[in-house]
Each structure stands twice: as structure tokens, then as C-alpha cells.
Amino acid sequence: MYTANASRGLPRHRSRYPAERYTRWALRALTASLVLATLWLVVAFHLRGQWMFALLFLVLGASLAIVFGKRQLMSHRYIFPALAGMGVFVIFPLLYTIGISFSNYSSSNLLSEERVRAQFLDRTYQAEGLAFDFRLYQDGGQTRLYLETPGAGLEGTRRLASMPLAEAGDGKPLAVRPVEAAPAGEALGLREVIARRDVLEGLTLVTPDGTELRMAGLRRFAPMLPRFESNPDGSLTDRRDGTTLTPDRETGFFVTEDGERLTPGWPVAVGLDNYAKIFTDPDIRGPFLQIFVWTFVFAGLTVAFTLAVGFVLASLLQWEQLRGKAIYRTLLILPYAVPAFISILIFKGMFNQHYGEINLILENVFGISPDWFTDPALARTMLLVVNTWLGYPYMLLLCMGLIQSIPRDLFEASAVDGGGPLTNMFRITLPLILKPLTPLLIAAFAFNFNNFVLIALLTGGKPDILGASTPAGTTDLLVSYTYRIAFQDAGQNFGLAAAIATLIFLMVVGLSLLNLRLSKVKV
């Protein structure tokens, strides 16, 4: 039944029912306010110079207005919310990631060029040459700071005194005023100055002409001056030594005259650099290839093991004369029912070298105590064991469903010809379920290819590969490797992570296209 075309193109009449009229108006008001809200986001993002996000919400708002504004697009109204969800939270992040992969976006190249420039211009330095000597004077419970330029008594000596220290609010600059002579009271000795050091170090003094002074030693306060000066050509001059910093828009850093890069930098497009790094830089290529191979091995072996266990169990459970099948089935799918993040952590404790039950048993029975978390081969074995435990119930359920659809008379014919259970299993059951199973096996492969949670919770990728310049572990899969490059350690390298993510995207697209073709999805 296709209802959408029924009223398409016909003029819409004012409804006879007030309730329906109100609903229509409410819907229009809701649409209008949503469009206005997205427009506000567009403008706000645009003003902040974040054009990617402005564009995202512009597209979102415009499509919202079109879909809910045109009556011809009735059907699209129903699918719009879900598509918008996918668009904003799946497709946009995907495109954004691909975009990042062509840039040097990282923890050292994070802010925009304007923000970096502003940060440099905000930097100050202490002009030691213009320093004041200071003393503290105490008078009836009030302490005042007294500053004077070195060489007291000479012509042109500047003398400044502060308000009482007790009145100064925390963190607020303290005003100092020119005075003729030292304030009343007695000058405190060095010992008392040291006792108040914490307070003094936190102080900012402001002279009447606006210069800020900060403590520069136990006897001195010195003015803080802006360190950099902006030049018309975009470069910065260092007022301390007169050198210039020139912005290098190829690398996204300010560069000194000696060619040294100063952090922070800003993200710039670097073309295919990140991809070139993956395939040519030996410190990245080595670990990357190792992890790449292990990812395929892990996903392939997981599918093989879980399928083997699940298939054998399913064949046993479909035997009509076996009693207690329901109980077996419930117990056997338990690993599927327990939340994965809990069972993975249970295994993390059980495999622990010090208190884990597995090593206790192995020690008592065989006298061995393997280092599950420090030996790469053992750590990989552990991952496969745990993942088989986690994953076989899915295969069991799939196989049970498919075995049930095999016609019974095939088995009867086999029995008449003298076929045993093994013959049945490998000559009838397996060949018959393998074909409908293939797309699901590919999906399972793709899922385990990206099985981030298992790695993150069980080993965290460790033990690490020696000599890698990025955080890379012997048990890392490509996804967890990407995650570690992006979010772990100091040098968060989003660009490189995004490049690897893009490569994984391509592989997953390949797998899912293959899957669609094999399963012949009908739409």
C-alpha cells in the first residue's frame, strides 16, 4: 500500500477538526523554531570562524526547512529525523575525519592561526633592567610595599608605595602610587620577607601608567612588558632581543631566524604527508604493518574459532533425542547475555599474574605461571581465548536457526545410506548452512576487525612494540592503534590517526559492499 501519493499535488483544505488544525500549527511552529535554532548555530559558528560546523548546520537547517516546508516531500518528513541523526553523527564525523587526515592537526597544532598569534602577543617578559628594589614596611599591623629604583638618593629616583597588603583582594592587581619618601613604620628584614614569599609571588602591582610589576627576586620587583610586537607583514618582533618570528604557513608554526619552530602552531593542510608517513617512515611503517597483519589474523581466527565452537554445539543441540536442550541452550548463551564490558574485565582479573585464578590453577596442576600480559604471544592467545568465549554464542544462535531450516528427509536419506553423525555434519549440515552464513560471517569479521572494546579493556594494546615513534602495541588492532595515537600520550597526532582511520574506512567499505552483494539485500 502506498499512501504518500494519494493527496500529492491536491490543494490542502482547512481541516474541519479543531484538534487537527492545532496540531498542524504546532508542527509548523516546531519546525520554524528548529530552523531558527539551527540558523542561530550557523551564525554563531560563522562568527567564530568555524566554517565546517557552520556549513553542517546550514545544510541541516536548510534541508529541515525544505522537507517540512514543501508538501510534495511528505514521505521525506518521516525519514528526515533519522537521516539527520546519521548525517550529523556518522557521515559528518566521517567527512571531517577524512579532512583532518590531510592536515597536521595535533596537540601542537590545535588552535587557529589568529588564536596562536594572540597567544604570542599575550606573552610578557620581565624587564630586569627596569627593576625596582623593594622593602616591606610594617606600621600598626598594616604592611605596605615600598619600591624604589636602584641607586637611592640620586636625582630621578622613582619611589612607589602600595596600599596596605591586607586590603588587597586575592589575585587582584594592587595599585602603587608615587610617593616622596618611604612609608612610616619599620622596614622588615629578609626573614619576614621570606615568610611572606607566597603572598608576594602572587602579587601583581600596577603603576599609574598601567605597567604591571611582578616579583623578580627576594629584593626586586620588575615590570612585565609585552614580549612580541606585531609587524604589518604578519611577522612578530621579539622585543627582548629584536629578532623576528615569521609565520610559516607550510608547517603551521612561527619560525625564528635560525629556523627553529615555536609551539604552539596552528593546523595547516599538509596534503598526503600523513599517508606518506604511514608507508615510508620506518618508525611508523613497521608497527603499522605489524598491527595491520595482526588485525587480520585476529579477526580471521576469531571468526574461525567462534564458528567452529558454535557449529559443533549447534549440531549437538539439534539432536532430537538429547534431553535438557533448553537448559543447555540458556547456559550456553550466557556469555552473550552478560554485558561485554563486565565479562572482559572479569577475564582481566582472572588472567592476572598475581591473584588470577587461571595462573593459580596452572601453577597447581602444571607448575607453570605464564606472563599473560607481558609476553606478546601469550597476550594474543589470551585475547583469542577471551574473544572466542565472548563470541561463540552468536555463531551458535545463527547455526541453530539455519540448521532448523534444513529439510529433515535429507538426514533420513543419509541414515538409510548408512551415514553417521560426522558424515551428516560435514556432508549435509555444513555445506547447506555455509552459503546463507557467509554474509553474516563477513559482518562478524568486520565487527572483530574493529573490536575496540575488547582490546581497550583487556590489554590496552600492551605489551608495546619497541622502537615505535607512536604509541603502538603488539596486541593493538588498527582501531585501538588509531585511538591511542589520537587520545593517548603527549603528542596527540590527530592528523595521523585520521589518516589510518580513513584507510580503515576504505577497508570497511570494501567489506560491506561485498556483504551487500553476497546477501542480495532487497530494498
Binding site: M1, T3, A4, A6, F45, S75, I79, P81, A82, G85, M86, V88, F89, V90, L94, T97, I100, L313, Q321, Y328, T330, L331, L332, L334, P335, Y336, V338, P339, F341, S343, L345, F347, K348, G349, N352, H354, Y355, L397, L398, A415, G420, P421, N424, A444, N450, F452, V453, A456, L457, V479, T482, Y483, A486, A498, F505, V508, S512, L516, V521, V523
Partner: protein, 296 residues
């Protein structure tokens, strides 16, 4: 088979039972062990499955009650497990309701209407659904970071961001519901439309009441998936009192501070309800899961 080999059948049955029992005990051992450990005294107690020195310490701590040891020292609960569980349930409840609303309406359009781009959109959704969210975490982080500067309740470290981010994962549910809608005969809705109902009314008053079972299944599936979501929550949530259970639970077994006993109690406490829900609804859930996706 039975007719052909009557003599060996008993031996084979016995063998099958033994094999199954052996395998089942392997499978259930870790789960029983954790229950046992949660009742043992101390954090690194070893011993038989039935605890020799029974103690409720870990359970009291899991419920957030300070525990007084025999020597008089008071142990404070290490982590707010109940708060984490509540956070998880809150996020899962809201996000699965929203997912249900989004996927039901689109499934209706895909099942009953004819419009431009229907086939490519459906196929495209299936392909995009295979991308794990881990890979675009940098982008999602950037999105919510910027969004949070304008709309604080959608920023980093809010549950709002986590709920919103989960709305991308609707394709599987759309396919499940669409399949169910297509199995319902459309003549009832047609009759309603002939009598003057709008498409929305036909959907809301006729089709939806008929589809309550599948809506329940999708709701439970989305709920369980949201409870177990780890990567996005690990990046979007920062403060200890904001964490969901999936992210918080691993802190019990952090490298420098392992609390095996406390973890066991917390794991049983929080894992049991989810496991029971799954087992009770398995008949419906399994159908949904095995028809399309893989549970994580």
C-alpha cells in the same frame, strides 16, 4: 539415524551430555567465580568456589555503604557504582526512546511509501552503519567541544552529548522495524485512509498498536547497546560522577590499584539486571540480533 544404530545410541548420548556439561562448566566458571569472589574477605583472596571466609564487605561498598572491618578501621566505598549505574540507565533510557521514535517513523516511510532515493538511502545506511564510532571520535569530540561553547548542556562531559551521539546508530533498527511493518497487511490502513484518515493517523492509530512487540524488541536492543557503549563515553565523559558504568567499571582494575574483590561485587550488582533482562527477552532479542547485526 536412531533406527540404524540402536546399540551405540546410549553411549553417544552419554558422550554428548558429558561434552556439553564439560563445555558448560568452562563457560560458567568465570561467572560463578566472580560471584564467589564478591563474598570473599579482602581484595586478593583465593580459594575454593564456596568462600571459606565469608564477608559482605565488597557488597556493602558496592552499595555505597562504608564498611567497618574487624580491626575497627572504616573502609570508604572506592567508586560511586550506584551513581554510574544510574547514569548508564538514564542515558540508555533517553537515547533508546529517541532512537525508537526516529527509527519507527522512518521505517514506516520505507515500508509503506514510495519516494525518490529510497533504495540508495536504505543501502547507504547499511554501509555507513558498519563504521565503528571509534574511528570518528576525534571529529565527534571536536563537534561536541564546539557545540558546548554555544549550548553548554551539549558540550563535552555532559550526558546530553552522549545521548545525542547515539542517535547516529539507527540503521539496524530501521531495517528490523521495516521488516516487521512489511509483514503486516496494509489493508487496514488503506481502509482508514479511505475513511478520511491522514497518513500520520493511519500510522499512529492503526499500524503502531499492531507493532508493539517489535517496538519492545528494538527498545530493549537499543537500551542494551547503549548500556554497553564504551568508546564514545570514554572520550565524551570526564568527571568521575558523570561516568557511565561501562567506562567507570574498568577503574577497579587500573594497573596501579587493583580492587579485584570490590570489582566482583560491583560487577555482579550491575551485570545481573542486564543479564536477566537479556535472558528473559532472549526469544525476541535473538531474532533481531541474528537477522542483522553483531552484538558487542
Amino acid at each position: 539415524m536412531a533406527m540404524v544404530q540402536p546399540r551405540t545410541i546410549r553411549a553417544r548420548k552419554l558422550g554428548a551430555h558429558l561434552a556439553l556439561l564439560g563445555f558448560v562448566s568452562l563457560v560458567v566458571f568465570p561467572l560463578l567465580l566472580v560471584i564467589s569472589i564478591s563474598f570473599r574477605e579482602g581484595n586478593f583472596a583465593t580459594g575454593s568456589l564456596i568462600p571459606e571466609r565469608f564477608s559482605l564487605e565488597h557488597w556493602a561498598l558496592a552499595f555505597g555503604i562504608p564498611w567497618e572491618r574487624a580491626d575497627g578501621s572504616i573502609v570508604q566505598p572506592p567508586f560511586p557504582v550506584l551513581l554510574w549505574l544510574w547514569n548508564s540507565i538514564k542515558v540508555a533510557l533517553v537515547s533508546s526512546l529517541m532512537i525508537l521514535a526516529l527509527s519507527t517513523t522512518s521505517a514506516y516511510a520505507f515500508a509503506r511509501m514510495r519516494f525518490k532515493g529510497k533504495a540508495p538511502i536504505l543501502k547507504g545506511m547499511l554501509i555507513f552503519q558498519m563504521f565503528p564510532a571509534v574511528l570518528s571520535l576525534v571529529a565527534l569530540y571536536a563537534l561536541f567541544d564546539r557545540l558546548g561553547q554555544l549550548v553548554p548542556w551539549l558540550g563535552i562531559n555532559t550526558h546530553g552529548s552522549l545521548i545525542l551521539a547515539s542517535l547516529g546508530a539507527v540503521a539496524l533498527h530501521i531495517w528490523t522495524i521495516k521488516g516487521y511493518f512489511e509483514s503486516i497487511d496494509g489493508s487496514l490502513e488503506e481502509a482508514a485512509v479511505v475513511d478520511g484518515a491522514s497518513t500520520w493517523q493511519a500510522f499512529y492509530h492503526i499500524l503502531l498498536p499492531l507493532s508493539v512487540p517489535i517496538l519492545m524488541v528494538v527498545f530493549i536492543l537499543a537500551f542494551i547497546m547503549s548500556i554497553m557503549e564504551y568508546p564514545m563515553a570514554s572520550v565524551l565523559l570526564l568527571d568521575e560522577d558523570k561516568l557511565t558504568l561501562a567506562v567507570g567499571a574498568q577503574q577497579y582494575l587500573a594497573d596501579h590499584n587493583q580492587r579485584w574483590g570490590d570489582f566482583a561485587a560491583a560487577a555482579v550488582l550491575s551485570g545481573l539486571p542486564i543479564t536477566l533482562v537479556f535472558l528473559l527477552c532472549q526469544r525476541w532479542i535473538v531474532g533481531g540480533l541474528t537477522s542483522g547485526g553483531v552484538k558487542g
